[in-house]
Symmetry: C2
Subunit: 398 residues, 2 copies
């Protein structure tokens, strides 16, 4: 008799976005005249950069010719893309070897799959509020989860508590949904904690490309000693608009080692390689060529222009909130604006208010964890026109 995984019953149904969609559809049907502005979803809207499209089409043509056709590639990614990333990291002072960079189909996949290499007895430390994938992927394995609270007091950047013992620590910086980003000094504390406790930090840097402040770290490996205690997950989804194209990368340093319960020391780089060669077959060749183009000088120029567009949207929204005296985080160094619901409204209450009074869709903060209650996420990914119209409505009606 085959048994199914009991841990799945401990997962909460992810009603968040379906409930948002349901409410928007109902409102839309009742008010067909109202133009609804969507600042809810964390998905890009600008097209792929021209150099990226060109590289992809060229690669597709190669695949149609016997002499240049490519079959199975290395599961961990082609050398040309690994090398491009080694150079990219060098740009902010991080020295990597190509074999430390694993190309994947996205940070979400790796974020879930990396759980494979750890023992189920580990205690997992997860921020609240945060991207729900950290929680759910560990719940699927029945792991014990502890939360660390993001609050206005700590700027939604929880710091290590020496009294709390944790084995695997998720950090997301710039954070989804709060937009808050750790400083070097703060990450130094986390690295010290991890080293002292033999913990491993899973550092989600999916939004690093939004960082403008030169003082903020783009990678946890800018902190000394991080290579002995951290894995970094990153993605081209927001950096280059790859949400529908699917490419990310995970850095597992060669220096990172931990023991099994019976005391055998293993290299996490080798374990991840074994995991990926066994359960993954690499990213499409055409996508890896497209990703390579992102890291050319022209690719960087084109992609940075798109980021600047989103950042200006974020600035406009932030400006309006400031004028209204509404407390918010993010907006700079991040495509997210995390605001305190005015008049002590709860997250869903404010959702209804924004939708019904202003015709704006956002995401209730409570969907990202209990500490998100009373908070709300707006995104900078809409068009300039839509963002400006939203800002005008906020100014007038909030």
């Amino acid at each position: 008799m085959a048994w199914v995984n009991e841990n799945f019953t401990a997962l909460q149904d992810s009603y968040l976005f379906s409930q948002v969609a349901h409410k928007v559809a109902a409102y839309s049907a009742a008010h067909p005249e109202q133009k609804i502005i969507r600042l809810g979803i964390g998905d890009v809207t600008l097209p792929l950069a021209p150099v990226v499209v060109e590289a992809m089409q060229k690669a597709a043509a190669e695949m149609g010719v016997k002499e240049t056709f490519r079959g199975y590639g290395p599961e961990q990614g082609y050398g040309f893309l690994q090398e491009a990333l080694v150079k990219y990291y060098a740009g902010f002072g991080v020295t990597l070897e190509a074999s430390e960079v694993f190309i994947s189909d996205g940070a979400k996949s790796d974020c879930g799959n990396i759980t494979d290499i750890f023992d189920d007895a580990n205690v997992i430390l997860v921020p609240d509020p945060v991207y729900p994938v950290y929680l759910d992927t560990n719940r699927m394995r029945g792991r014990k989860i502890r939360f660390m609270e993001g609050t206005p007091e700590n700027g939604f950047l929880p710091m290590p508590d020496p009294a709390v013992k944790a084995d695997i620590i998720y950090l997301c910086s710039p954070n989804n949904p709060t937009g808050a980003a750790y400083s070097k000094a703060q990450l130094k504390e986390w690295v010290a904690y991890a080293r002292q406790n033999g913990a491993v930090i899973l550092y989600d840097a999916a939004y690093e490309a939004f960082i403008e402040d030169g003082e903020l770290p783009r990678s946890i490996f800018q902190i000394e000693g991080a290579k002995e205690c951290a894995i970094e997950l990153c993605s081209l989804s927001k950096t280059a608009g790859f949400t529908g194209t699917r490419c990310g990368y995970t850095v597992v340093p060669l220096a990172l080692k931990r023991k099994t319960k019976s005391g055998k020391e293993l290299s996490l780089n080798k374990m991840w390689l074994r995991r990926q060669t066994t359960k993954f077959n690499g990213v499409p060749y055409v996508v890896q060529r497209a990703a390579e183009a992102v890291f050319t000088p022209e690719g960087q120029k084109q992609c940075r222009a798109n980021l600047a567009y989103y950042k200006e949207n974020a600035r406009l929204i932030g400006q309006a909130l400031e004028e209204k005296g509404i407390l918010y985080y993010g907006g700079t160094n991040s495509p997210y604006i995390w605001l305190q619901c005015p008049r002590q409204m709860k997250s869903w209450e404010f959702f209804d208010f924004l939708l019904e009074k202003l015709g704006i869709v956002g995401t209730p903060g409570s969907g990202f964890g209990s500490r998100g209650e009373g908070w709300f996420r707006l995104t900078a990914f809409a068009s300039r026109e839509a963002t400006e119209e939203a800002v005008a409505r906020l100014r007038k009606q909030l």
Copy 2:
């Protein structure tokens, strides 16, 4: 203190293909004059079909334009591709709903990831010899594995043994590496066994497109009752040369339900959907459009022409072996030829013999399990010229 997964220490290093490469490199260096023919690797060599390349380039162009750009797609795949597969299955008499078809980046990934939805206490039944991924992905979770032997007596098609209790059963048909394919009557027995024991069959149909014999099933869902006890994994890797393009699909019937250990009945379709939406973000849009083109009438014509090319290679190799009186399986309904090493040589002995005397590279059968010892795999994926040259050498020197 973070612990790593102890089960990884139980994995054997996969020396097979690296040892093959090492031996070939050494021989090649010592005999630069010898033209080596590679019939070892299970990777396609013909380019993507023109309609596929065209669809991919068109989709890439769409991604470069704001109006047609696509961000996140549904994790389980776009409706247009699910519907194309529903029609494809209808072609061999299987009725599916679109929501039963999950698009993935390949059968290997799904084969590994599907382990997530099952309890670790299940007993896993795996054929020997077989594709090593079934074994390794379950060993990574510390599961108990039983083997069922493929032998010349059962035509390398092990059948259910009522005395052996198994919960999860892997079947691969046409089989990698033996090329042997189950008949409908044989699958009926497996379905009956699975239903009687509440087991779940994981049916790997990655080579279904090579089946020529109209009597052989293309899908386990051609067997009555299979929807209550089976999941089918399939891939475009060999069907359409997608080994470097990455697209597969997994069918999880809505009728398939099993209980957790505490007795709660769950739908495996819903569990897989939850797994995929949590740990996967879908296949690139451009790849899904390329895959859609495979299932158009023109796409089928072009892809079938490539399959016919490989099949003719297989026939030529089989013919030569037959003339030499060498026992083999596969060769029809499969791109693999599984032969008994002549003169009672062991697998690696025959590998050395073939390489050193004939300049032909194959794969030692012992690499696929202990019952593969004394057997050997040749593939039909080389060019016609190389295959004909190999056949001439086999005729002359074997």
